[in-house]
């Protein structure tokens, strides 16, 4: 009898272990399949759709930056359009003025935006909530005018026309597909880096600061350092997205980076799920496609439709799409795993 129940117990434990391995194997498999599909898409779709999806991924990286800062670290920013512009113009000026090849402009763009973010984050330490929002709003408002002012560098009102990245001849890709694949690679790296940071010590410190800054400080977290780091990391992501957008569009000008861009990032972030990584991708889709759908639905008042779409999303899913779906999915997965465990136990 005892041998039997010991055997049952062992089986149950074994089943449990297999289930854990299966869950993560499933996740790995699903991710690999998703990446494979994403990489194959440009070969099935028409060029215009490839371009649209490239913009989705670029916006996703930018929104991911915002999620890190606002969702995980609780510092609101209405100025990320400005950092997006900084990345775009860094890439554009390096390519246009100094003949730097496009792939070599991503690192400088990211680095410069990181430094900008840290420089911005330091004084921003003094501000909380709505006051920080106002300070970052100032950044968004100033950006187009600053770009026009420093016109020897930025080309001023006329902007800078760029030669879009050409794929290596051996690969036989067209321009749109090549830029899509570059953006896809950048998005995957961005997600990996963000996940590593957020799941590690830095991420926990950020969340602690967001949820309870005084307790976090009392626990020994250097809030100033982590908050500044959050700002810099966030702007690094958004700056790289900006540089990619310069490749995809082939033209930068002050008009491209208005206040509305900053607002769009925040909208995309909130709709996708501001404290999630996957939500950034949903946000990218929202920013890219909803204005166009709104235009198709109503010629006269497309922005009213856009606003309505936002309201519906926030009302039905206050934590954003991914923020709402993820807990539900995890709950279902756990229940399924538990049920399987129970069945195994009973049958064993």
């Amino acid at each position: 009898m005892e041998k039997g129940s010991a055997a049952v117990a062992r089986t149950a434990v074994n089943v449990g272990r297999t289930d854990t391995m299966t869950a993560s194997t499933w996740r790995w498999l699903a991710t690999a399949v998703a990446i494979a599909i994403a990489a194959a898409l440009p070969f099935w779709l028409r060029n215009y759709h490839v371009f649209e999806l490239t913009m989705v991924m670029i916006y996703a990286i930018a929104v991911l930056g915002l999620n890190i800062l606002t969702g995980f670290n609780g510092q609101i920013s209405l100025g990320h359009g400005g950092f997006f512009a900084a990345g775009a113009y860094t890439a554009a000026i390096l390519m246009h003025r100094y003949g730097v090849p496009y792939w070599a402009t991503l690192a400088p763009a990211g680095l410069i935006c990181f430094v900008l973010g840290v420089l911005f984050g330091l004084p921003a330490l003094r501000f909380e909530g709505p006051y920080l929002a106002l300070v970052t709003l100032a950044m968004a408002l100033a950006t187009p005018q600053l770009l026009k002012y420093f016109d020897t560098w930025t080309g001023g009102q006329q902007g800078i026309n760029l030669v879009k990245p050409m794929p290596p001849a051996a690969l036989g890709l067209n321009q749109d597909r090549w830029i899509y694949l570059i953006a896809l690679l950048a998005l995957l790296i961005a997600i990996r880096v963000a996940a590593n940071m957020l799941n590690g010590r830095t991420g926990r410190a950020w969340v602690a600061i967001r949820d309870h800054p005084i307790a976090a400080a009392a626990m020994g977290i250097d809030t100033a350092r982590y908050k500044t780091l959050a700002f810099g990391t966030s702007t690094l992501f958004t700056g790289v997205a900006g540089a990619l957008s310069a490749f995809a569009v082939g033209y930068v000008s002050p008009e491209s980076y208005s206040l509305f861009l900053s607002v769009s990032f925040l909208v995309g972030s909130a709709v996708g799920g501001i404290s999630t990584i996957g939500g950034a991708i949903v946000g990218g889709f929202f920013i890219q496609f909803v204005p166009n759908f709104a235009n198709d639905i109503s010629d006269a008042a497309p922005w009213a439709i856009y606003g309505l779409a936002m309201l519906v999303c926030m009302y039905t899913m206050p934590h954003g799409v991914v923020g709402t779906i993820k807990p539900v999915l995890m709950h279902l997965v756990q229940r399924a795993a538990a049920a399987r465990g129970n069945r195994a136990q009973r049958s064993g």
Binding site: K148, Y149, G156, Q158, N161, V249, Y251, S253, S256, P302
Partner: protein
Amino acid sequence: MSPRTLTSWTLSAAGLLLAGGLAYAAGQYGPGASDAEIKLGNTMPYSGPASAYGAIGKAEVAYFNMINEQGGINGRRINFITRDDGYSPPKTVELVRKMVEEDQVLALFNTLGTPPNTAIQAYANDNKVPQLFVATGADKWNDPKNHPWTMGWQPSYRIEARIYGRYILANQPNAKIAVIYQNDDFGKDYLTGLREGLGAKADTMIVATKTYETTDPTVDSQIVSLQGSGADTLLTAATPKFAAQAIRKVFDIGWKPNHFLTNVSISVGAVMKPAGPEKGVGIISAGYLKEPTDPQWANTPEYEEWLEWMKKYNSAGNLADGNNVYGYSAAQTMVAVLRGCGDNLTRENVMKQAASIHDLKLPMLLPGIAVSTSATDFAPIDQMQLEKFDGTTWQLFGDVLSGSGS
């Protein structure tokens, strides 16, 4: 040659001729054109800070609706696809790509704004899509050698400034000219055009120039400095807000130069009244379209026709808004080009017809001004007439003057 070969050759030739003939009869079609319709693509800022120009797009929709109701173009209706780019170049690129690759438009028509058009110029030329009658005053659209698929419509800033230069040279050959201009391509185009109009005497006649940035709070110090140069003539190449400041300052410091003002800042409501209408008396600018509020056109058949169109097809439009005359006239130019294509509606032929407009007179262009293009002249309208502000409105005077480079 054997009889069999001869027969087969003859039959083939006959077959080809027949097929060619049938094709000719059925019409040669590029993307966006068919027996039933012609697709045109357009982007306008219907939202955002430049949204006042959206009235132009609405006027064009209304005009094409009227043409369609009257039977279309050689029996084909115009499918005018216009979308909102909010004056943001990346949006323009996206929308234009969609119109070319998804909607497969025959041509782009009257896309508005210098940055938006700059963003799509390379794409349009690389893909051989006509980028016709762009709604901007920049001069760079008249470049058939490097951009054979891009064409402007309205007189460019440079053309306008050439007209001022030539007028000054002819009427005040001893004038001492000062120039205040916005420090970007818009302002620089005016200085370049003025110099071209003055010709060899440019260096001696222009005694002082000052620039301002759009981020500057005022232009008062520049005006004072220009007065100090002893100039008796002033050219103000400034956008509305700064133009109003300049007009006010010139009056307030007691300076009474011959004052020339750019056509973009002649709005009575947006510039002259805020400056103080009595301060703007005597200022000279130039126009090429009939102002809908100008009483001299009130009972003319052309105006009546425009008014009737406004009431029937564009009733939401403002009767005092010059943008409705602009859209009406630009649309008429496009219709003339499409009519000229006949049944050969390929992009190449559209471009060819657009580049061979001979002296087209439009009802709402000032009398004496006509639309003309050639393979080397992609500036359809290069004539303007001077007008003087009388405290209430702009009064046309003198002859129609040409600002063409040749």
